[in-house]
């Protein structure tokens, strides 16, 4: 049985709160069944609004949202059968963990035995068996988060929405929870729509990521594609580290282009430029530029080391290359790196395919 690739469908959805500004502009987004999709973007980019529209707490100003091919704009939240994990967990503070988990089952008039069974199963899924009688206030942040996840899943919803669920946790806990949520998703195959502004989180967990900015989806693709092949300068900037050069296309041919900078010229991969004279931002990932590479590359320059920052497993080197004093290089900490000293001039190279000429900022 093939999975429905349009399990959740945003169809030309607009949203405005005040009738003057569109928070979400012409959103078209298909989410397939069982997918883990992340809406990633800076605050105010409209991602949470999209989630709220899907959950039913906001109504689209225009357009329609379909769940399993049924329009849901006129269905109130409690009839949508969508599980939701809130930013601050939203556990009911006056109920025990058991009662919290039993709530969605009780309102669905599930029998007592069935409730016990399901609550048990959900708790063991988040490895909190034995915590039934605790109050949420007696749990740590991570445990509360797990209860919230269990509660959103316990009634077997078709879709689970997560609104920055890990935002309040510390770094280590956040990372382990990321894996845990990912594993839960893999084992039960529920469709997850996840909202975050943390790109690391998005890259680790998702099947696909929708990068939001200014009410629009800038790019929708798998994490690796998003990172390796950003389609515009916003995505390139937003996801991962990025070295940029501002310039003007001076020549374009054979899938390569020459970009004239203030100082010098580089060969780049034309993505968003069409013709000679176009302004462009060239983006190169820090780890794509190498020092004294063994094989020949088509971009070779000299750079002066301005700053060296030790990061444990790698060293971050700030260079002044082609008039850009903010060029960052990531150097793995191995014995080869002899010349990395402040003030030294080193040779760096990169392939033109990794230098993506995108839209100007």
């Amino acid at each position: 049985m093939s999975k429905n690739s349009e399990f959740v469908k945003f169809d030309k959805v607009d949203k405005s709160y005040d009738g003057k500004v569109l928070v979400v502009k012409d959103l078209n987004l298909d989410i397939s069944e069982g997918e883990f999709i992340t809406m990633l973007g800076p605050s105010g980019s409209g991602k949470t609004t999209c989630l709220m529209m899907l959950a039913g707490f906001e109504t689209p100003t225009n357009g329609e949202i379909y769940l399993d091919s049924n329009p849901i704009s006129n269905i109130p939240p409690h009839k949508r059968g969508i599980g939701m994990v809130f930013q601050n967990y939203a556990l009911f503070p006056h109920m025990t963990v058991y009662e919290n988990l039993a709530f969605p089952l009780k309102v669905r008039k599930v029998s007592k035995d069935e409730i016990d069974k399901k609550v048990d199963k959900a708790l063991s899924m988040v490895s909190l068996t034995g915590f039934e009688n605790r109050m949420p206030g007696q749990l740590s942040g991570g445990q509360q988060q797990r209860v919230a996840v269990a509660r959103a899943l316990v009634f077997d919803p078709a879709v689970v929405l997560m609104d920055e669920p890990l935002g309040a946790l510390d770094k280590n806990l956040r990372e382990s929870m990321q894996y845990e949520i990912k594993h839960i998703h893999e084992s039960i195959g529920v469709t997850v729509v996840y909202v975050t502004h943390d790109q690391g989180e998005a890259l680790t967990m998702s099947n696909r990521i929708a990068v939001f900015n200014d009410g629009k989806v800038q790019q929708l693709s798998s994490p690796d594609k998003l990172y390796e092949e950003p389609v515009n300068s916003f995505v390139a900037e937003f996801i991962g580290e990025n070295n940029t050069f501002q310039g003007e296309v001076s020549d374009i041919s054979d899938g390569k282009c020459k970009v004239k900078l203030k100082e010098g010229e580089i060969v780049a991969n034309p993505i968003n430029v069409k013709s000679k004279g176009d302004k462009t931002t060239v983006s190169i990932r820090p780890e794509r530029a190498l020092i004294n590479p063994p094989q020949k590359m088509d971009n070779n320059y000299k750079g002066k080391i301005e700053e060296v920052i030790y990061h444990g497993d790698h060293t971050r080197v700030r260079l002044n290359v082609l008039g850009n004093p903010e060029f960052i290089l990531k150097v793995p900490n191995s014995s080869q790196n002899i010349d990395i000293k402040l003030g030294n001039t080193i040779n760096i190279s990169w392939n033109s395919t990794d230098a993506r000429a995108l839209d100007p900022k």
Partner: protein, 417 residues
Amino acid sequence: MSSETKQILTTDGIPLEVSLKKAEKKNKIKAFLLVAPLLLFLIITYIFPIGEMLFRSVDDRMVTNMLPKTFKAMEKWDGKELPPEEVFEAFYLDYKFLVEEKTFGKLATQLNYEKNGFKSILKKLQRKMKKFEQGNYKEQIMNVHKRWANVEYWRAIKRRAPDITYSKYLKAMDMYENEDGKISQVSEDRRVHRILWLRTLEIAFFVTILCFLMAYPIAHLLATLPMKYSNLLMICVLLPFWTSLLVRTASWMILLQQQGIVNDFFVWIGLVGEENRPEMMYNKTGTYVAMTQILLPFMVLPLYSVMKTISPSLMRAGKSLGGTPFVAFWKVYFPLTIPGIGAGCLLVFILAIGYYITPALVGGASGTLISNQIAFHMKSTLDWSFASAMGLMLLTGVLVIYWIYNKLVGVDNIKLG
């Protein structure tokens, strides 16, 4: 045995506890000095007056002090038949002293409280006493008036012998201790206090309920509306609060009187005829309306402060988990507001139970409360001990309610803000 737990020493060899006490001593003194003015103020203005009130409500030394010899002589008297000569003599000497001091009128008043008819026979005794001869006072006093030969009157005097009495409390419950020392009820037409107590409880209870019903939606609106509107609404709630209580009550009088605005309106829309305008003032209705309005902010504010802390995502969670808006409200939102409900209800009820000005102005005969009765005895009859007794009963009632609340809901669950 492990009981030999070693005392932990500081690096200087002083026991840790001693060292800690020393270090904390300065802070403790500072903290105490900070609260000392308030403590002193509370003692002077609160604890001392309540103690004084308690004392006054049971204090009965006035008669005891006026008739010291009499009561001493009465100690041996069994109260069955007329007292012996010594008692009459002692009484004669005591009374003579009072006449000389010109304070005998007070005795007459006090004894008349105990038994009617004392006033006239004491006056007569005072007049005739001047011609009394030495000795055989029993005969002479009994000759003044035949009531002096009635053992009931002597028993009444003896009843006033103890220093303390709980008769005022009995009186507040429409009961009294009769001649045989049994507690019995006063005649039906004189039972006024019990009605007042019940009415006070009833009005306080219903005012609390009315306040709750009105305040809950307002507080919810206040807590959920955007800042711009909620501030305005808050001012509307607080505006009456900033107006003098008297002015507010007076404006209710203007509104509610028979020729008042509300009645005019009712007549105008044809709800009632011109001839039978309903009486909405000088009865319970007036008290209910005015008190509910005046006490409303006391319910709104605690509710608001609690509702403000309830995250809106909880209701959303309730709905997204499949609860209808009502279920989400009833199972999630409402239980979380209980601390505010408790605080608000307790506050309003306690304030209502002792309310004075409003019922006095708009209550009329059927809308006055026990506090009006207390004020009446404070100002008009000057029976301060009776007023004190009722005041203390009111205070005890409030404490009992507080205790019950604590048992049912728990005082920790109160949130005033």
